[in-house]
């Protein structure tokens, strides 16, 4: 059942064929029904007309005989009529198509009336309705009914024609009925019905087949277009639809191919551009490395010998040394960002204990040097996740450095938490805090909350951290309130690439 429903939902062809078949079956059924009804009624009418005519002459004959005979004695039944029934229905009257029933003489009430009939079975076959009409009226009456006729086990449809006869001598009245079988008509009708049913079914199947063929003609190219489009979408940019003829499908194919070609051009142009750019950035940073190495070595030699210089030269050597560190950090950050931008960054996964990373980073002398107290919460139990240890370490260091350098706070809280789906680490400072859109701008490259406090750092730490988190399918979000500090929450999903809820929520979140 589910498979059928699925087929209906997914296959346009199934829908077209099914609805065509159902609708044509409905139309054919209606037509057949009307046709059969028409034929049935005309068959019955004809039969009745013949029966009535035949019966009329029969009644006249019987009445004539009654009139001409002189009944002298009152008997249970008119002898003349009895004789007539016997002569009409006896063995001598071969090819008889009717049964005769004689009721009478009729008494005033409906009490038992003697009945004589041509066959035993037809005696009770006269319906009450016509019998009532005949007894009370003088006309000729007819009615359709079902009756078991002679030699017939089952009832067959009949037309009953009846009339009252009067014996002038005795003054008795009799009811006489002709029962004409309509079995022949019924058989004709059944034959026709079967023929119509068979023909209708064949018709429905043929119409369904035609619908299937026609829909295939239209759908095959559509399906092919779908397959080609799917392959194209999955990156096989050389896929094209075959074009034959000049019909709508051919025009569709042509348009599709034009679109594909234009997309392919654009994509390869962009790919080329991105490759070139990545190559350029990579080359530039590598080319810069050799002279930077020389400068750095020279700077170190000068720095080591600064005691022997006059104060101004000594200070210059110190500045040179410090800025070289920054220059190098900037270069390496730029190279990392160019890898993210080019989609060339790769994860090297292994088990990472976020609690251990938090503890180690919290003791990093570079951060502690600023006189900051770092407290770690929730790191008593291991918080293990599949991740790139180098990147996780870098993120945590960046977050701590950020909190230490820019917040103006002397206290930093680090919290680690986990759920079944994700692990989170938050770094909260109690410094100036960020307001409004600064929480978003914090991840902008080279953005600094307060340029006056921008001592050291590249301005790329948080953007890189966010890229690192995103590479794991995780998130890095910032919350802050002016005067209350800032909280940054890193969330890494346990299953790579599945969006999850963070295991921590910020107190600063509204």
């Amino acid at each position: 059942m589910r498979r059928l429903a699925r087929l209906w939902r997914r296959s346009l062809q199934t829908r077209v064929v099914t609805s065509t078949a159902v609708l044509s079956a409905l139309a054919i059924g209606l037509t057949g029904w009307a046709l059969l009804r028409d034929v049935a009624s005309s068959l019955a009418d004809n039969r009745r007309a013949v029966a009535v005519a035949e019966a009329r002459s029969g009644f006249e004959l019987a009445q004539n005989r009654l009139d001409s005979s002189v009944e002298t004695e009152a008997g249970p039944q008119s002898v003349v009529l009895s004789q007539m029934i016997d002569s009409l229905t006896g063995d001598g009257a071969a090819g008889r198509t009717y049964e005769l029933v004689l009721q009478g003489p009729l008494a005033g009430d409906d009490s038992a009336v003697p009945v004589r009939s041509s066959s035993a079975s037809s005696a009770d076959a006269v319906p009450a309705g016509i019998s009532q009409s005949v007894r009370s009226g003088n006309g000729l009456y007819w009615q359709y009914a079902d009756a078991a006729l002679e030699n017939a086990e089952e009832t067959v449809p009949v037309v009953v024609v009846g009339r009252q006869l009067r014996a002038p001598g005795s003054g008795d009245s009799y009811a006489m009925y002709y029962l004409y079988s309509m079995q022949e008509q019924q058989e004709t009708l059944a034959l026709m019905r079967n023929a119509l049913l068979l023909g209708g079914m064949a018709m429905v199947m043929m119409v369904g087949g035609v619908a299937w063929l026609v829909s295939r003609q239209v759908l095959d190219p559509v399906r092919m277009a779908r397959r080609v489009a799917e392959r194209f979408a999955s990156g096989n940019l050389d896929q094209r639809m075959p074009v034959s003829g000049e019909d709508d499908i051919a025009r569709l194919s042509t348009s599709f191919n034009q679109m594909a070609a234009s997309l392919q051009r654009q994509i390869s142009r962009l790919e080329n551009l991105s490759r070139l750019q990545q190559r350029f950035v990579s080359d530039v940073s590598h080319e810069l490395r050799t002279p930077l190495t020389t400068v750095r070595m020279a700077g170190e030699v000068l720095f080591a010998a600064r005691d022997r210089f006059d104060p101004q030269t000594a200070r210059s050597a110190e500045l040179l040394q410090g800025e070289l560190d920054r220059f190098e950090a900037l270069l390496s950050d730029l190279l990392d960002l160019s890898r993210f931008d080019a989609g060339a960054a790769r994860l090297e996964l292994s088990d990472v204990d976020l609690a251990a990373v938090a503890r180690e980073c919290a003791e990093d002398p570079v951060i502690l040097r600023n006189g900051i107290v770092v407290r770690v919460h929730g790191a008593e139990t291991p918080v293990v996740v599949q991740a790139d240890p180098r990147r996780i370490d870098r993120i945590v260091r960046n977050l701590l450095a950020n909190a230490g350098k820019y917040s103006g706070s002397d206290r930093v809280d680090v919290t680690v938490a986990q759920t079944d789906d994700a692990v989170s680490l938050s770094v909260r400072d109690f410094g100036v805090g960020l307001a409004g859109d600064e929480n978003l701008r914090i991840f902008d490259r080279f953005w600094r909350a307060d340029p006056a406090r921008a001592q050291g750092g590249t301005g790329l730490g948080l953007p890189i951290s966010r890229e690192d988190a995103a590479l794991h399918g995780g998130t890095l979000s910032a919350w802050g309130r002016p005067g209350q500090g800032t909280e940054l929450i890193l969330t890494i999903p346990r299953t790579l690439g599945e969006p999850v809820e963070p295991a921590l929520t910020s107190e600063l979140a509204r």
């Binding site: 050799t290 002279p291 070595m297 170190e300 030699v301």
Partner: protein
């Protein structure tokens, strides 16, 4: 830690960048080393033959003969320590260079102190152990700087010698890659563990019967390496 130096150690600097090569010479001279510069890959072998260096600093990107080939040729001729200079730490070049026979690598830009520490680590002779160590059928003689297995001498580079000495000096300990990096390569902060992997493979190929099925140095999954004393190993097999 003491250095057994009867003369000034000689370092051959192979780099096409003149300024960097000269700067390297200045820094090395400041450290009491004698440096000679060679600026083309094609002339390295001549310089190597005439200068007879105790250590080679080799830039991977060289005009003429490339760094990798130079590295292989030097290693074919000598066990002299080779330290590569590279601008790209994350490329297959580094692994290829290590497999070509380099002992260590330094990524540009580097701190002078870092470079000097690596050079010192490679010039250092293992003095911690002076008595020969017998380990199964392996005999390691620090004084003569030779290793034999079943009486047959094994051709180990100084680095491989140090690595083996470190492992068999304490068979009860599992050495993590980080500890090996610190003890053998002189790293003071976490370095690159592929250095250990590459050299462990080379060492095994020289001392093990089957390098794919090591019996002397076992890998302890997720931890590091451990030397297995053949005597205790067979005992545990029996047990």
């Amino acid at each position: 830690m003491s250095y057994r130096r009867t003369k000034r150690d000689r370092v051959l600097v192979v780099d096409d960048d003149g300024s960097l090569a000269e700067m390297l010479s200045i820094v090395l001279a400041g450290e009491g080393l004698t440096a000679e510069v060679c600026r083309s890959g094609d002339r390295v072998m001549d310089a190597f033959a005439s200068f007879k260096p105790d250590l080679v600093l080799l830039d991977l990107m060289l005009p003429g003969l490339d760094g990798m080939t130079v590295c292989r040729r030097i290693r074919d001729r000598s066990a002299v320590p080779i330290i590569m200079l590279t601008a790209k730490a994350d490329t297959p070049d580094v692994v290829a260079g290590l497999e070509a026979g380099a002992d260590d690598y330094v990524t540009k830009p580097f701190k002078n102190s870092e470079l000097v520490a690596r050079i010192r680590a490679r010039l250092r002779r293992t003095d911690a152990i002076s008595e020969p160590i017998e380990f199964g059928d392996i005999v390691l003689d620090p004084a003569a700087h030779t290793v034999t297995r079943g009486g047959q001498p094994l051709e180990l580079t100084p680095l491989e010698f140090d690595l083996l000495a470190c492992l068999i000096s304490d068979p009860s300990q599992v050495f993590t890659r980080e500890i090996l990096l610190e003890r053998v390569w002189g790293y003071h902060h976490p370095g690159d563990t592929k250095l250990v992997n590459v050299h462990m493979t080379r060492l095994r190929s020289k001392i093990e019967d089957e390098a794919d099925n090591p019996q002397i140095i076992r890998t302890v999954r997720g931890v590091g390496y451990q030397a297995i004393d053949p005597a205790s190993a067979s005992e545990s097999d029996l047990g």
